[in-house]
């Protein structure tokens, strides 16, 4: 039964994602997680100041329940379905990250430098998380979707706009990792 604690290979994970999209379609919903960010803004009162947030958020209640479940799923997976959380990334990636100062590469699930509790006391870590978060939130809404809405749902429906968005995701990601990372981490 030890296999249950192992990370899932891609050929289990990918089909599971397709299954989740299928289940959502079969209950009449569309798979798209970033819509929740807009809903949460509305619940926080953003609709009083900005028209974009003025919509019937209750129609998105189901999606909030999905992310609540996703949170609980994360809890279950981390505490009951895993023993060693280290992510076995490739040796080249580990060496590269060590050079950039990420000593936890290959030893943990997330880099301690950004997601360990000490990050709360480090201005640079906080800035990285804040800027990253703002870009994700802004970009997802501007593009009308994120990885789930465009790369999975949209492309499965052969939507050209989703292909444009996914090409954009990669241009942005490659720029960050190859051009900007060497400037901010040394």
């Amino acid at each position: 039964m030890n296999w249950i604690y192992d990370p899932w290979p891609w050929y289990i994970s990918g089909p599971m994602i397709a299954l989740i999209m299928f289940l959502l379609l079969m209950v009449g919903k569309n798979f798209g997680m970033s819509a929740n960010l807009r809903t949460l803004c509305t619940i926080c009162g953003a609709d009083k100041k900005v028209d974009f947030f003025n919509f019937d958020w209750k129609s998105q209640q189901w999606n909030l329940i999905v992310i609540l479940g996703a949170s609980f799923g994360g809890f279950l997976a981390a505490h009951f379905l895993s023993k060693d959380l280290a992510v076995a990334i490739s040796t080249e990636t580990i060496n590269n990250l060590n050079e950039l100062g990420f000593s936890s590469a290959g030893k943990s699930y997330l880099p301690n430098e950004l997601y360990g509790l000490q990050a709360f006391l480090n201005l640079k870590s906080i800035l990285v998380l804040v800027i990253g978060g703002v870009l994700v939130g802004f970009g997802a809404r501007y593009a009308g979707g994120c990885t789930s809405g465009h790369a999975i749902s949209g492309l499965s429906d052969l939507q050209l706009p989703s292909l444009i968005a996914v090409v954009g995701f990669f241009i942005g990601g490659l720029t960050m990792v190859h051009l900007i990372f060497p400037l901010i981490f040394k």
Binding site: W8, W10, Y11, S13, G14, A18, I20, M21, L23, L25, M26, G28, N30, N36, L37, V50, F52, W62, V66, I67, G69, S71, F72, G73, G74, F75, L76, H79, I89, L110, L114, S125, V128, L129, G132, G133, V134, L135, V136, F138, G139, A140, R141, A143, C146, T147, H150, I152, S153, L155, S156, Q159, P161, I164, V167, G168, F169, G172, G173, T175
Partner: protein
């Protein structure tokens, strides 16, 4: 009953994001350096099956579990919003190493600093709402 179904789908999604390591900052970084097949395998196989599923539902007009018509919402035709928005999203995705689904999975898994990312992503969404009419779409 429907609430319970959404909870179960969410739990499945959360477990999948965590166990597949798609919620790991390291896997996203590795993907953008083309140093492993893992993430490409996940997205590629999800997509290959996803295309088959969606095209099948459309072709045979499959009804939902409740007997209702399944609607797909075609995205409005445009280039700039998807391209610019996509690039901005990609910059953030690589930096924070988390997208809007896995963020919530990571809270549950107990990585508290992800809270900073979530709050910031709400701020980013709010800024988009503020600037929306002045942006090229």
């Amino acid at each position: 009953m429907r609430t319970l179904i959404y909870v179960v789908i969410g739990i499945l999604f959360g477990i999948t994001m965590f166990k597949s390591e798609a919620a790991s900052w390291f896997r996203i970084y590795e993907m953008f350096r083309f140093e492993s097949f893992h993430m490409y395998g996940i997205i590629g196989s999800a997509l290959a099956l996803g295309v088959i599923v969606v095209q099948y539902i459309k072709k045979y007009k499959i009804k939902s579990f409740y007997g209702e018509t399944i609607y797909f919402h075609p995205k409005a035709k445009s280039f700039r919003r998807y391209f610019y928005g996509g690039i901005i999203f990609g910059l953030g995705w690589a930096l924070a190493g988390a997208c809007p689904g896995p963020m919530f999975t990571l809270v549950g898994a107990g990585f508290l600093p992800i809270g900073i990312v979530i709050i910031s992503s709400l701020i980013g969404t709010y800024i988009y709402g503020l600037l929306k009419d002045n942006l090229p779409h």
